[in-house]
């Protein structure tokens, strides 16, 4: 190991302190980014591609308070307005599209339809119909 002759002990101590603080800052920033990234992942609504896996997901949403009821025969999804508005637009589009496809399969139809209604105000929050997809 190479040896270094330290002339000024105070200066060397300050230098090492600056190195420690810099490394701490980098470590803290990096850890913060990873924690933020992880929370973004786990907070996102997942909906599987396979239609046979939709039923347990609907049940989970009912437990979580997002969905009040889902009638595949009538292609009607009743949701909690606040929980629905808390979701990102991308998640809402994914939910409406996948459930519309699910309802078509359940009803042996080639036509995808779904209406998303608020449980409190009965406002139409999302729709898949003859005009295509519409999500608020």
């Amino acid at each position: 190991m190479a040896t270094v002759r330290i002339v000024d002990a105070d200066r060397e101590e300050h230098r090492q302190k600056r190195i420690v603080i810099t490394l701490f800052s980098i470590g803290f920033l990096g850890l913060s980014y990873l924690v933020y990234d992880y929370t973004q992942i786990i907070s996102r609504t997942s909906i599987p591609e396979n239609l046979s896996e939709i039923d347990p997901v609907i049940q989970k949403w009912q437990v979580d308070g997002l969905v009040q009821s889902f009638d595949a025969t009538k292609a009607k999804l009743v949701v909690n307005e606040q929980a629905w508005q808390d979701r990102k637009k991308e998640e809402k589009v994914g939910i409406v599209t996948q459930l519309a496809r699910y309802c078509a399969q359940k009803n042996n139809s080639s036509v995808w339809t779904l209406t998303v209604i608020g449980s409190r105000t009965s406002e139409v929050l999302g729709e898949f119909g003859s005009a295509g997809l519409s999500v608020k």
């Binding site: 090492q16 420690v20 490394l23 990096g30 973004q40 992942i41 991308e90 994914g94 496809r101 078509a104």
Partner: protein
């Protein structure tokens, strides 16, 4: 070895580990983005086929001003890494495309939902669902 030097070595090891994890996340993010691009590219190909159907007279199996009846061959909707589901209206088509790489949620595959409208002659909406 002084305690401060040991602390510096420990912190360097920690920062290198964090850098490696961040690099892995960024690589994963790039592969997700690349796969979404491939899915959308396949949707664009399907739109081209659909527009041919739209323009073709009904006498020869076309839609003559409607996308209704458009059914592409499976080689356009199912590929090695891509699956595309679609539904049509008179002047719109909606595609739901999936890849095989995990998407934003870290659990299910990348997903794009895109709606094309003939009156706009363009995509009405493109949503990166996952």
């Amino acid at each position: 070895m002084g305690s401060q030097q040991l602390l510096i070595i420990t912190l360097i090891v920690f920062v290198v580990g964090l850098a490696a994890m961040t690099g892995i996340r960024l690589t994963r993010s790039y592969s997700q983005s690349s796969e979404r691009d491939q899915v959308f590219q396949q949707m664009s190909i399907l739109v081209g086929e659909a527009r041919k159907h739209y323009a073709r007279p009904t006498a020869i199996g076309g839609g003559e001003g409607s996308f209704v009846g458009f059914e592409p061959p499976s080689r356009f909707t199912v590929k090695e890494r891509i699956r595309i589901y679609m539904t049509v209206g008179d002047d719109w088509i909606l595609f739901q495309g999936f890849g095989i790489v995990e998407g934003y949620d870290g659990a299910t595959s990348v997903q794009i939902v895109a709606q094309y409208r003939e009156s706009l002659k363009d995509w009405e909406s493109i949503t990166e669902v996952n």
